[in-house]
Subunit: 327 residues, 2 copies
């Protein structure tokens, strides 16, 4: 039975990961400051004797003996991170430092969840892991993007200098139950708007594309990558030109934002929402689509859940989060 720490484990993705690792029969400690995470995401786990919740901020040092640390702690939606840019970049960088220091001292394996945002507004399409990105250091998204980039760098530096066993996953747009209903991201926005009969707001022309991954597919890739033995994995990565494992995890099926809005409306025929258009915010990327060849080769993985099916689960969840609903 392995012992896992999940920083940010009361958030959207962390809570799914916690459930999955408990289902495997392992011990799970979730650490979260509940800034954007929510205890309601881990209701149902609290009384499991193999589960522990710690209310703690990842930017403050912590201690514990774990086999594996999944570092997920960071506000991830623009609406949250732009409210507290300093705390966001500190969560990324100082949080990563604390995780890596603990891993160094305890020989824990680390999986860090990086993001497609490190590619910024990409000039290459789709984005392979070798693409360097296109980011404004002083833009309004940079607290998140540059914080995540610097956290990746810390990971490779701790691996090269101190031999810490680190794996990087660059997560592309992911959706599903336990998303924050007011996180301002496009899937939660559209579903909440459609469920409430409000206008569906598209920023820009709606022709910008995204790829949407259902959360179960992500969790499958993350846990597979973490389970691989270190040295065969390192060898496979070297053959692809990487010092450490770094893989894109996302669904390469590309949809325009307008198509997403139309799919949500098709799944909710009772909704009388209309689509309206608003100005695009600063530095918003135009296209984002993962090249997932490497994750496929290393982890024998591919996304399996089609958009319409994943959206059904997400809609069922968001119904429980409507004002006045009984969760």
């Amino acid at each position: 039975m392995k012992k896992h720490l999940i920083t940010g484990g009361a958030g959207f993705i962390g809570s799914h990961l916690a459930r999955r690792l408990l289902d495997q029969g392992d011990e799970v400690t979730v650490m979260d400051n509940l800034f954007t995470g929510n205890k309601s995401n881990i209701y149902g786990l609290m009384e499991n004797p193999r589960f522990t919740f710690i209310l703690h901020d990842v930017t403050q040092p912590f201690w514990g003996q774990f086999d594996e640390i999944y570092n997920l702690a960071c506000p991830a939606s623009p609406i949250h991170y732009q409210r507290n840019p300093v705390e966001t970049i500190k969560a990324s960088f100082v949080g990563m430092l604390n995780v890596l220091e603990l891993a160094l001292k305890t020989k824990a394996r680390v999986l860090h969840t990086s993001t497609s945002e490190i590619y910024g507004d990409p000039l290459v399409h789709p984005q392979p892991e070798t693409y360097w990105g296109n980011i404004n250091t002083i833009g309004i998204r940079s607290c998140y993007d540059e914080g995540k980039r610097a956290a990746e760098t810390l990971c490779v530096d701790y691996c090269r200098e101190y031999n810490v066993d680190v794996r990087l996953v660059r997560i592309f747009n992911t959706y599903g139950p336990n998303m924050h209903p007011q996180d301002g991201r496009v899937v939660s926005n559209f579903i909440m708007q459609a469920l409430q009969g409000h206008d569906i707001t598209i920023y820009g022309s709606g022709q910008q594309t995204r790829s949407f991954q259902y959360v179960d597919d992500l969790i499958e890739a993350v846990t597979r990558l973490m389970q691989l033995e270190r040295y065969p994995l390192a060898e496979a990565c070297r053959r692809h030109g990487f010092d450490i494992p770094v893989v894109n995890v996302g669904n390469p099926n590309e949809f325009t934002i307008r198509e997403l809005a139309e799919t949500v409306l098709a799944l909710l025929p009772e909704s009388n929402s209309k689509i309206v258009y608003r100005a695009l915010p600063m530095d918003d990327p135009q296209r984002r689509k993962p090249d997932i060849t490497l994750a496929g080769e290393l982890c024998d993985w591919a996304p399996a859940v089609p958009l319409a099916e994943g959206l059904k689960h997400a809609i069922a969840y968001f119904r429980t989060r409507l004002p006045g609903a009984c969760a």
Copy 2:
């Protein structure tokens, strides 16, 4: 009489800045951990009653009441920062955090020395401040490049969220007395090799270009930018599309690495060094040249020292650093 703190003030650039501010009649505190800085750079200042040296690492919190903080603390040459990547990125990020926290509490003005390295291997030439850069997050230079990028982001975040008065200078290749003779950078390498009659090593074809700025020109720009009143400066920056002052400071005259080697040899006719070629290291940028329009407009500044003249001063300095020389 103003009170200044210079972090990294015993380094190459910091020691010139300290001298300049003392010459103006101000009080100067130099903080340095002497990892790459050297006390010999500040000999001659130590007994000045307006000068104080503190042996301290910028990654550890510190306190003091200063009017102006110049943040220069970070190993800046690949040979140094690649030896300690973790300490390098911590010096950039955690050092910047400590500087900004002190500035927030004491209302000090901050000038942060960023670098042309934030542009990476640029796809735009010359580089204006609006260029976003082209950087490998997981390459061997990334501890420096990404650390410096994240430090810029921290600066704008402290300005936007907490109204700290911050100015950013992106320094391009700079040379002059007090450079570390073994820092592995091209000007010091070539001069030390030529002075000792060793082969002059060019990495790659020698056709990659650099712009070389004499340190006096840099100090002039930095002190001018720091002296500008905050709000007229902020207004001028907004007209150029920036929330905070961010200026390139460098000499736009472009030379190939081969031309630099030939100029050094022409200034040392007694040298019998020959030019030899070696393989280019990973991620080495091919071209780098500043667009300095903005610094010119904001600070009424332009570089004034021609390469051959600056190199003469540098050569005179490096003669004193030859093995066996009396400094």
